[in-house]
Amino acid sequence: MEILKALGKMPLYKKLCLVVLAAYLLIAIFAPQIMPYEVDDFSHDSLLPPSSQYLLGTDEMGHDIFSLLINGFRITVVLALISGALSTILGTFLAFCAAYFGKVVNDAITALANIFIIVPEIVVIMFVAVIAEPTMTNTVLAIVFFSWARVFKIVRGKLLDSMSKNKVKYTMLMKGNVFDVCRKLVPDVAPTFISFFVLQCNRAVTYETTLSFFGVGDPLSKTWGKLIRAAMDYEELYYDNVFLWYLVPVILVVLVFVVCLALLVSEED
């Protein structure tokens, strides 16, 4: 019930974002049913313009671009959810360790987080992804391990605030174990956690797309970033308006996704 109430209070543009994101999720789930052709089916004539048979034409290899795009929903949405969840959990877990144990643990993790905040995240992620074996798992791991710092900083702040409250102090005094303390902290941190989860999903999509554009990552999984890269590498993209169905749709799909994710958790004040 409370969730419904919160939803009702949302400004219109946020509701709209939610609807769009739900649509993305549905497309991702039903991608195999929506796709007219298989992803690795390159038996079609190459470089066909859009038609009723090939909604967005075909690429220079003979793939159906529409199928690739729909398949990208599945890969990217799953990737966003997994990396977003893992990096938020990692950041929150480290924040809890820092806040709960304090002292050396706190200093060490905070120093590490500070490094990742002042150095360019994307270069570090790219470095790791380049030297690792090019698989989707490694891309996700690179994103997760090097993008938790902001989550950590904010959540740690919240946890420290919350720990100075009486109910938590009391639990600690009563020699409550870690789980008891956790239970008291969860309600205070939950809203921040959810916002960060959405933001981290957004970041993961941006990072993955950027990595793919730089040619890093699993060459076999056709993410949106790889589609953009393939389109931009195609030398005659700007003849005969090919870009209109090869490049523009995938760019729009990425844009709408990241913008909706960002707006959904934007703060009003």
Binding site: V130, N138, F213, L261, E268
Partner: protein, 321 residues
């Protein structure tokens, strides 16, 4: 004094950790060439020409024990030797230095103009009657969410390929030499699109920050009093608002300085602008590990130096004001 020492030690530790990360990661992650050379061979070595492999071995010396390798690595770094690029066959540092010139030429002006636009926009939004500026926050956030390279791709598509107003790639028309007639004009023409994209990507974060600061300052009694006294609008904005939010903003320039160089890396790679971004794209395309590592180190050190300078001098200066 004690404070300065504290900051220096902190950043020295950061610096050391970055070096350690850049050393250990390639040796620990499965699938990397160093791991392949030291650990279980996985055929990576066969793909690299033998002369390059020799250079590679000489620089990294994978057959020595780890701690000796690390000491060797530190010695090389102390001599500013970042190794030799696999593909260019020249020292990595030379390549990066040559590219940095272009990156700074692009990113520093973009940062300045982006910050100025953000300042004007943010104050204007903050000073709107009845908090109407709030309505502009979502659009600004939407622009913020757009990945820099996608913005670049869109600008290239529209203004270079469709309208043909500006050249699509490069920093200069091939064959143009310094001193030729029209050289500077050509240079500027190539700069317009990457510069504009970078400026736009610099605006949103700062705008939101300025907007929030303005809202805070607006509630101060002296602003109400100035209003009451009928101080002119321009004077109110410059003397009362901007003057009071400026310390906050200057304290944030370090973030802008790092953001603009990172944005520049992505934007350059789209426009094939010969800066560090294009170099990075080359490095990732050809798996040029020493080059990759050099770019990682230099960009991290850049971040460290910027933040150190800010903590030591600028924040101190702001506080003393």
């Amino acid at each position: 004094m004690k404070n300065i020492l504290h900051h220096l030690t902190k950043y020295l530790i950061f610096f050391f950790l970055i070096i350690a990360i850049s050393f250990f990661l390639p040796r620990l992650i499965p699938g990397s060439p160093l791991y392949a050379l030291t650990g279980e061979g996985s055929g990576y070595a066969d793909e690299v020409p033998s002369a390059v492999l020799e250079n590679f071995k000489e620089y990294y010396s994978p057959d020595k024990p780890m701690h000796e390798q690390f000491i060797q690595y530190l010695k090389n770094l102390a001599k500013l030797d970042l190794g030799t690029s696999f593909t260019y066959k020249t020292p990595v540092l030379d390549r990066i230095m040559a590219a940095t010139k272009w990156t700074l030429r692009l990113s520093i002006p973009a940062m300045v103009s982006g910050t100025i636009i953000a300042l004007v926009l943010g104050v204007w939004m903050g000073m709107m009657a009845k908090d109407r500026g709030k309505l502009l926050v979502p659009p600004v956030l939407a622009v913020q969410a757009v990945p820099a390279f996608i913005l670049a791709a869109l600008a290239q598509m529209l203004f270079a390929y469709q309208l043909g107003w500006f050249p699509a790639t490069g920093a200069i028309t091939p064959g143009m030499m310094p001193g030729d007639p029209g050289y500077t004009a050509d240079l500027l023409k190539h700069m317009v699109l990457p510069y504009a994209v970078l400026t736009i990507s610099e605006i949103p974060t700062m705008t939101i920050f300025v907007y929030n600061s303005t809202i805070k300052v607006k509630k101060e009694p002296y602003v109400a009093f100035a209003n009451y006294l009928g101080v002119s609008k321009i004077k109110l904005y410059t003397q009362f608002i901007v003057k009071n939010i400026l310390p906050d903003i200057v304290g944030r320039i370090n973030i802008q300085l790092i953001m603009c160089v990172m944005g520049s890396l992505l934007v350059e790679s789209v426009f094939s602008y010969p800066g560090v971004g294009a170099l990075l794209r080359h490095a990732t395309n050809y798996r040029d590990y020493p080059l990759m590592q050099g770019i990682l180190l230099t960009s991290c050190i850049y971040g460290i130096i910027i933040n150190l300078v800010f903590e030591l001098f600028i924040n101190r200066f702001i506080k003393s004001k």
